[in-house]
C-alpha cells in the first residue's frame, strides 16, 4: 500500500495534462472517469476534508455543542501544554503502548511467518489458528481478556504459575496494567503475520539456492537475503501498526476506563472524555487534542517514510 503510494508519487511527477489539451474523445473519457469517481470525491469533501479543516478551526474555540463556539485563540493549546497533567500522562502511556505493541507485533509476526514459511505441513490450518482471534469483535475479546488477566484466577497467571512465577496483578495494579494490555495485543499478531508470510513467499527460491551454494549459513541467509528483501513489508507493517496503536481506545475503554490511577489512560481515551463524557462537552479542547495527535502521527509517518530510502529495498 505504501509502496503503491511511493510509485504513485513517482509516476505523477512531470505529467500535467489540463482539460484544454484533451481531444474530444479524451474529454469524453475524462468525463466518464470523473462521473465514476464522483461519489468518492463528494465523500472526501464531506467526511475527510471538511472535518479536517473544521477540527482545526474548532481547536481555537470553546464549544459545548449547545451554545455557539467562542473564539479563544490559543487558550486550548496553552491549557494542554501547561495545565493538563493528564495530557502528558496519556501521551506517555500511549507512547509506551505504541513502542511495546509495535515491537511485539513485528517480532512475533515475523517469527511466526518464518516458522510457517519453513515448508511445514498443514500450512493453512496453522495460519487459520493464528488468525482466528483477530476476527473476534473487540468487545468480545476484551470480555475474555478481562478474565484472562484477572489476578486471582486468570488464565495468564495460571500459565505463569506453571512456569514458577508468582501472581501478577495485571489490570488492577498501576505498575502492571499497561503490560497486561501489551500481552493482550498479541491477539492481533495474525494479521501482521499473514502480510509477512505473503512477503516471504514472494522471495524467489533461487536467491536462497545461490546463497546456499556460496555456503551461507541459516543466519547469514536471514540477514543477507530474507530481511533486505522483506524491508518493504516490514516498512508497511510498522507504519500500519504505529498508526493504529497511537489511536488505541476500545479495549482500554472497555476493560480499564484508563485506570488504575490513570496507568492505562491513553491519548484517545483522554480525547474521548473531553468530547463525550465531560459536562459540558469540551469540543474545542478535544479538537486541539486531535490536532496535536495528528501532528505527532504525521511526524512519525514522515520520519518512517523519509528514512525508508535508506533501509527499504525495492526490487524494481
Amino acid at each position: 500500500m505504501t509502496a503503491a503510494f511511493g510509485s504513485q508519487w513517482r509516476s505523477m511527477k512531470g505529467k500535467r495534462e489540463g482539460w484544454r489539451d484533451l481531444s474530444p474523445m479524451r474529454r469524453r473519457e475524462a468525463l466518464y472517469g470523473l462521473a465514476f469517481v464522483s461519489p468518492w470525491i463528494i465523500g472526501l469533501l464531506l467526511f475527510s476534508f471538511f472535518p479536517f479543516v473544521a477540527s482545526f478551526v474548532l481547536s481555537f474555540t470553546r464549544y459545548d455543542v449547545i451554545n455557539p463556539p467562542v473564539w479563544i485563540g490559543l487558550a486550548n493549546y496553552n491549557e494542554i501544554f501547561s495545565g493538563d497533567s493528564l495530557f502528558l500522562k496519556s501521551l506517555g502511556n500511549t507512547a509506551l503502548y505504541v513502542v511495546g505493541s509495535v515491537a511485539i507485533r513485528i517480532v512475533l509476526a515475523f517469527s511466526l511467518a518464518m516458522l510457517l514459511n519453513s515448508k511445514v505441513r498443514f500450512l493453512g490450518v496453522w495460519r487459520t489458528l493464528f488468525y482466528i482471534p483477530s476476527t473476534v469483535p473487540i468487545v468480545a475479546i476484551s470480555m475474555v481478556w478481562i478474565y484472562i488477566l484477572n489476578a486471582r484466577y486468570g488464565l495468564l497467571n495460571w500459565f505463569l504459575s506453571l512456569l514458577g512465577q508468582g501472581r501478577i496483578r495485571w489490570l488492577s495494579s498501576p505498575a502492571y496494567a499497561m503490560s497486561g494490555l501489551l500481552v493482550m495485543s498479541t491477539t492481533w499478531v495474525g494479521v501482521t503475520m499473514i502480510i509477512f508470510l505473503a512477503g516471504l513467499q514472494n522471495i524467489p527460491e533461487e536467491y536462497y539456492d545461490a546463497a546456499r551454494i556460496d555456503g551461507a549459513s541459516w543466519l547469514q541467509r536471514l540477514l543477507r537475503v530474507t530481511l533486505p528483501l522483506l524491508t518493504p513489508t516490514i516498512f508497511l507493517n510498522i507504519l500500519i501498526n504505529i498508526i493504529s496503536a497511537f489511536q488505541v481506545f476500545n479495549q482500554v475503554f472497555i476493560m480499564t476506563q484508563g485506570g488504575p490511577r490513570d496507568a492505562t489512560r491513553t491519548y484517545m481515551l483522554h480525547l474521548y472524555n473531553h468530547a463525550f463524557e465531560f459536562l459540558p462537552p469540551q469540543m474545542g479542547y478535544a479538537s486541539a487534542l486531535a490536532w496535536i495527535l495528528f501532528i505527532i502521527l504525521f511526524a512519525f509517518t514522515a520520519i518512517v517514510v523519509l528514512t525508508s530510502d535508506r533501509w527499504v529495498f525495492y526490487n524494481n
Partner: protein, 296 residues
C-alpha cells in the same frame, strides 16, 4: 529413515536422501512450537466457550477448570433474559446490510473509474485516497459528530451507514488493483460491438471482479459487526443499541449485568456469527489481509 528430496523429485529423478537425525529433531521442535503458539491464540476462545456452559461455582477457581462439571445451556437463556439480544441483533443486521450494500456499490464504481479512465489529476486524486487511509480518525470524529448532532442524526443509524455510500478508501484501492489486472482486449472487442461504458461496467466488469467484491463484502460485514466507537457515540437510545454496545452494557453496568458464566454465554452469542463467516470464507479473509500488504 529416508525420504525423497523435493529437489530430486522436481528434476524427475527419484533420489533417496538420507537425512541426519538433527533434521528430524528440528522438525519435531518446529511442530511443538507451532502447537504451543496455536494454543496461545486459541485457548482464550476455548476457555470462553467452556465457561459459557459451566455452573457459577466452577468459575473463578484457581487453577482454572476447563471442562464443565455439569453442562448448563441455561446460562444462555439466563443471559438472554437480561440482554435484549433480539433487538441488538436486528439493529446490527440493519447497519451491516445497508453499509454492505453502500460500500460495495460505491467502492466498485469508484475503483473502476480510477482503473479504467484517464482524466486530469487522476493520479493526484488517487494519492489523496491513499493518504486518507493514514489520516487518524480522531481528527474527523468531532466535527462529523457536531454536524450529525445539528441535523438530528444522533440516535439514528445514518451516521454509521451513510458515509459507506461514498466509497470506502481501502475497498477502492483493492478494487482498482483488481480492475487493473483485467485484460484490456476484452474491453476493446466489447466496445467495437457498440456496448456503452455503463453496459461494459455492469455486464462485463462487475461479474469479472467478483473475487475482489467478495473480499470487500467480508471485510465490510466484519467492520460493521465489530464497530464499537461509532455506535457508542451515536446510538444513545437503548432500542438502537448494537450487539457490541449491548454486550458491553450487559457485562459492565452494575446491577444490570449477568454473572461471569452468563457473560461468557453472551460473548459466545456475539462471536459465533463472525466465526461462522470466517470459516465459510477463510480464503477470502486471508486474501483480504494479504491485500492490505499488497505491493505495487
Amino acid at each position: 529413515m529416508t525420504t525423497v528430496s523435493e529437489r530430486g523429485a522436481l528434476q524427475g529423478r527419484m533420489v533417496q536422501v538420507r537425512r541426519p537425525p538433527a533434521f528430524y529433531l528440528g522438525r519435531a521442535l518446529l511442530y511443538a512450537l507451532l502447537i504451543a503458539c496455536s494454543l496461545w491464540f486459541v485457548a482464550p476462545l476455548i476457555w470462553m466457550l467452556m465457561t459459557s456452559f459451566m455452573p457459577l461455582s466452577q468459575v473463578g477457581v484457581f487453577p482454572p477448570e476447563w471442562i464443565p462439571r455439569v453442562w448448563q445451556p441455561e446460562n444462555y437463556t439466563e443471559a438472554l433474559r437480561f440482554w435484549n439480544f433480539g433487538v441488538t441483533f436486528r439493529n446490527t443486521m440493519i447497519i451491516t446490510i445497508f453499509s454492505l450494500a453502500g460500500s460495495l456499490i460505491s467502492s466498485t464504481i469508484v475503483a473502476y473509474g480510477f482503473a479504467r479512465f484517464r482524466f486530469p489529476y487522476r493520479d493526484l486524486l488517487f494519492l489523496i485516497l491513499l493518504a486518507t487511509l493514514m489520516l487518524p480518525f480522531a481528527v474527523r470524529l468531532i466535527p462529523v459528530y457536531i454536524v450529525y448532532n445539528e441535523i438530528g442524526w444522533v440516535n439514528t443509524f445514518y451516521p454509521l451507514v451513510v458515509p459507506e455510500w461514498f466509497g470506502n478508501a481501502f475497498f477502492i484501492f483493492l478494487g482498482r488493483q483488481f480492475f487493473l489486472g483485467i485484460q484490456q482486449d476484452f474491453l476493446d472487442s466489447a466496445k467495437i460491438d457498440g456496448a456503452s461504458e455503463i453496459r461494459i461496467f455492469t455486464q462485463i466488469m462487475v461479474p469479472l471482479a467478483k473475487p475482489a467484491i467478495v473480499v470487500m463484502a467480508i471485510l465490510s460485514v466484519q467492520n460493521s459487526w465489530n464497530e464499537f466507537l461509532g455506535p457508542l457515540i451515536y446510538l444513545k437510545d437503548e432500542n438502537l443499541h448494537t450487539l457490541a454496545i449491548g454486550l458491553y452494557k450487559f457485562t459492565s453496568l452494575p446491577g444490570q449485568g449477568g454473572m461471569q458464566h452468563q457473560q461468557m454465554a453472551a460473548t459466545v452469542m456475539m462471536v459465533i456469527p463472525v466465526l461462522a463467516v470466517f470459516f465459510l470464507f477463510q480464503k477470502q479473509f486471508i486474501q483480504g489481509a494479504n491485500l492490505s500488504g499488497i505491493k505495487g
